[in-house]
C-alpha cells in the first residue's frame, strides 16, 4: 500500500487518472457485519454497557477476545505474512460501523486501527530502506528494529496485545511531531489518551523517534471523560524508556498515517452511530402517542427525520469513500478522509441530538441509551481532529486558500 504522507502540493480537485471508488458494501463485508452485530447483540447490549460505564473499566469481560482474537477483527489491516487477516480498511470500517451502532467500549479504533496502521507504516518503510535516516542507521540496528515492529504487529493482529498511540485523542493527522500539549512539557505526561487503561503497550512519539513502552513501565492516571465508553487517561512514561522503533522522519510519517487511517475509519463509527439514532427515533415516534396520534405523524417531526435520513445517505457515501480510498491507497485519500470527517462528525452529533430531543423526557434519562450515543458522538466530533481542522486540511489540499 502506498500513501503520500506529507500533503504539500494542492491536488487537482478533478484528477481523472484516479481509479473509480467502490462505494458499496460487498457480500463478504455484509457477512462480517452480521457476525459482529450478532456478537454485540448477544454480549454487549446497551443495558450491559450501561451497567459498567461507571466502574472506570467499561470494557465487557471477554468481548475483546471474542471480537479481536476469535473473529480475527484485530488483524484485518495486517497482511497475512505479518500474522494478520490480510483484509483492508473496508472491512475494518464495517466493524467500526457496528461498534458505533452499539456504542461499544472496546479499544478497536485505538489499537486495531491507529496503532496497527502506525506500525504497518514502519514495517513497510523498513523494507523499502528508502529514507535517508534509515540508511544512516547501522544495518543491524535497522534489522533489530524491524523485527521488533514485525513482532509487535503480530501480537496486535492476534488480539493478544492492545497497543495505544500515546497522543491526546483530539490529535489530527496533520499535527506536528511529537504532538505538543499546551502546558505540558514534551515527552512528559500526555493527557487525554483514549483506551490507555486497556493498553498493554504504548507507542510514544518523542523528538528522536517513536518508542514502544510496556504499560507496566508507564503511569496511567484515569480522567473523567465526557464519553464514558471511551475512557481517557494521562499517560506518563519516563524519558528515554522503552525501545526506539524508528527515527524521527520515519516515525513522523508513520504516526501521520496511523492518525489518517483512524480519522478515516472514525467516520464509519460515526455513521453506524447515526444510523442507530435515526432507526431508534423512527421506531419510538411511531409508537409514542400524544394528541391522539403517533408523534411520528406530525409533519414537523417527519421532516426532521427525513432530513436526517438525507444526511445519512451522504454520510454513508463519505465514510465508504474514505475507507475505500485508504484501502486502495489512492492519491486523494487524505482529501476523502478530511471530507468524511468534516461531514460525518456533524451528522453523528445531529443524529444523536435529534434522538434525545424526539424521545422527549425519556431521552433525558440515564436508563435510555440515547445519552451513550450523544456522548460518543460529541466526543467523536473532537477526536482525531475537529471538523474545522479537517476543513483547513481540505482548503490546503484543493487550493482554496483563506484570506491573507
Amino acid at each position: 500500500m502506498k500513501q503520500p504522507t506529507e500533503p504539500t502540493e494542492p491536488t487537482d480537485p478533478a484528477d481523472p487518472t484516479e481509479q473509480p471508488l467502490d462505494l458499496l458494501h460487498s457480500e463478504t463485508e455484509e457477512d462480517l457485519r452480521a457476525a459482529v452485530r450478532a456478537l454485540l447483540a448477544d454480549r454487549a447490549g446497551h443495558q450491559a454497557v450501561l451497567g459498567r460505564i461507571e466502574t472506570g473499566d467499561p470494557y465487557l469481560p471477554g468481548l475483546w477476545k471474542s471480537l479481536a482474537a476469535d473473529m480475527g477483527a484485530a488483524g484485518l489491516l495486517v497482511p497475512e505474512k505479518l500474522g494478520g487477516q490480510g483484509a483492508s480498511h473496508r472491512e475494518a470500517a464495517v466493524v467500526l460501523e457496528e461498534l458505533g451502532r452499539a456504542v461499544t467500549p472496546l479499544p478497536y479504533l485505538t489499537s486495531a486501527v491507529v496503532a496497527t496502521e502506525t506500525l504497518l507504516a514502519l514495517a513497510e518503510g523498513s523494507q523499502e530502506t528508502g529514507s535517508q535516516e534509515t540508511r544512516s542507521q547501522k544495518a543491524e540496528d535497522r534489522e533489530a528494529a524491524s523485527q521488533e515492529v514485525a513482532g509487535l504487529l503480530a501480537d496486535l493482529a492476534s488480539g493478544r496485545t492492545v497497543a495505544v498511540l500515546a497522543v491526546p485523542l483530539s490529535t489530527a493527522p496533520g499535527a506536528e511531531f511529537p504532538p505538543t500539549v499546551p502546558g505540558v512539557p514534551a515527552s512528559d505526561s500526555v493527557p487525554g489518551v483514549a483506551d490507555a487503561v486497556a493498553a498493554d503497550l504504548f507507542l510514544v512519539p518523542r523528538a528522536d523517534g517513536l518508542y514502544a513502552v510496556p504499560a507496566a513501565a508507564a503511569t496511567v492516571v484515569p480522567q473523567s471523560p465526557l464519553d464514558l465508553t471511551r475512557p481517557l487517561a494521562t499517560v506518563t512514561t519516563g524519558a528515554g524508556s522503552g525501545t526506539r522503533l524508528a527515527g524521527p522522519g520515519a516515525s513522523r510519517a508513520a504516526v501521520r498515517r496511523g492518525l489518517l487511517a483512524g480519522a478515516g475509519l472514525l467516520a464509519s463509527e460515526q455513521l453506524g452511530l447515526a444510523e442507530w439514532c435515526l432507526e431508534e427515533t423512527v421506531r419510538y415516534t411511531r409508537e409514542r402517542h400524544q394528541f391522539n396520534r403517533p408523534v411520528g405523524s406530525f409533519q414537523a417531526l417527519k421532516h426532521r427525520m427525513a432530513q436526517l435520513w438525507l444526511d445519512l445517505v451522504g454520510a454513508r457515501a463519505a465514510a465508504r469513500a474514505a475507507a475505500d480510498a485508504l484501502a486502495t491507497g489512492r492519491g486523494d485519500a487524505p482529501l476523502l478522509v478530511a471530507v468524511a470527517q468534516a461531514y460525518c462528525s456533524r451528522t453523528a452529533v445531529r443524529a444523536a441530538e435529534e434522538c434525545v430531543q424526539l424521545h422527549g423526557g425519556i431521552g433525558m434519562t440515564w436508563e435510555h441509551p440515547a445519552h451513550l450515543a450523544l456522548k460518543r458522538a460529541k466526543s467523536d466530533q473532537i477526536a482525531l481532529g475537529s471538523a474545522g481542522r479537517h476543513q483547513d486540511a481540505i482548503a490546503a489540499l484543493v487550493g482554496l486558500e483563506p484570506p491573507r
Binding site: 480537485p13 478533478a14 484528477d15 481523472p16 471508488l21 467502490d22 462505494l23 458499496l24 435515526l278 423512527v282 415516534t285 411511531r286 396520534r293 403517533p294 411520528g296 405523524s297 409533519q299 417531526l301 417527519k302 421532516h303 427525520m305 427525513a306 432530513q307 435520513w309 438525507l310 445517505v313 451522504g314 454520510a315 454513508r316 457515501a317 463519505a318 465508504r320 469513500a321 471530507v339 468534516a342 461531514y343 476543513q391 481540505i394 482548503a395 484543493v398 487550493g399 482554496l400 486558500e401 483563506p402 484570506p403 491573507r404
Partner: protein, 394 residues
Amino acid sequence: MTGAEELRVLTRKLLDEHPPAGTDRTDFLRARFDAGLAWVHYPVGLGGLDAPRALQSVVDAELAAAGAPDNDPRRIGIGLGMAAPTVLAHGSDEVKRRFLRPLWVGEEVWCQLFSEPGAGSDLAALATRAVRDDAGDWIVDGQKVWTSSAHVARWAILIARTDPDAPKHRGITYFVCDMTDPGVEVRPLRQITGEAEFNEVFLTGVRIPDAHRLGEVGDGWRVAQTTLMNERVSIGGARVPREGGMIGKAATTWRERPELRTHDLHRRLLDLWVDAEVARLSGERLRQQLVAGRPGPEGSAMKLAFARLNQAISGLEVELLGDEGLLYGEWEMRRPELVDFTGRDAGYRYLRSKGNSIEGGTSEVLLNIVAERVLGLPPEPRNDKDVAWKDLAR
C-alpha cells in the same frame, strides 16, 4: 442478453457504416437508434437490445471516443427523462413505435402538461376535463401552468379528469397531446430570472384520439407515478467530476479573486465544498447501487440535496462578488430553448436555482415522501380519499 463485448462490436459496426465525420447528425442518431444502441436496456426494435442498463456506458464511451454526435439531453430532457419511460411502460405497440424514435433522436421535443393553477403539489386535484365524443376521441378543456418548453414542444404528456364523480385519484386519465392541435394555446410566462422558460397552456376543445391514451381510462394517476418517479431521479442525478457542479464556479471565483476573500466566506465556502463533494459521492454510490441491481430510495435524496446546494452555493457566490453581485447580466425577456441551471452569471444562477426546490415536486413534498415511504412514518391524516372529486372544496 447482450454482453459488453457484443455491444462493443455492434458499436464499432455502427461507426464503420456511418462514420461520424461524413454523416449528417440526425441520420447518425437514427442509425444508432435502429442499431439498438440508443438506450440498450430498451426492447429490440425500440432503440434497445434488452441489455442491462449499466452497459449503456460501454456504448457511450466508444461513441464519445469516436467523436460521434450526441442527442443533446438538455434539449430533450422531459422527453428522455419522463415521457419515454411512461410511453414504454404504458403505451400500445403502435404508440411506442410512433413516438420513441423521434423523441430519442431529438427531432421531437416533449413537454409535461401536469400542473394547473389549482393543482400543483396536490396534482391529483386537477380540473382539466377530457370527455369522450361519439367518434371515440377525447375532447379536452382546461388550463395548465408552469409548463417548461411548451413553446418548443411537438408533443405533451397530459393528465386530465375523465370522471368527476370518482374520488380524485381514481378519475384521471393519461394522454399524449398534440401541441399543434388548433385548440392548444401557449402563452409565455415570464419568470423570476426575466426570461420565459415556462408557459401557460390553454386547452380549448383539443381533440385527442383514443389511441393516444396511455393506460386504462381512470388509471391515469398510476401511470403518472411512472413519470413522477423518473422525474425525481432524472433531476440532480447527472454524473459530475469533483467540483463539477455549481461549487466549481464558486471555487474558481475564490481562487481567481483573492481580493474578495473574507474569513466568514471562507468557512461557509468550505462547508459547502464538503457538502457538494459528499452529494457527488452519494450520487456515485446511487449509480453503483443501480448497476449492481440494488436500487435504493436515494433518488429523492439526490434531488433534495441538489436543490439545497445550488441555492446555498449560488447565494454565497453573489455575496462573494460584493459590488459585482449587485449587478445582473440582462433582464431582457427571452424564450430559451434549453433549461439552463448553471449558465450565465451568479445572479442568474441564484434566481434560477430557487426553482430547483419547487419544480418536479417541492422539497417539502419530497420530505413527506421520504418520511412515509422510506422511513415508514405514519401518513398525514387526510379527508379527500373517498370523496367524489366534484364534492371537494376548492
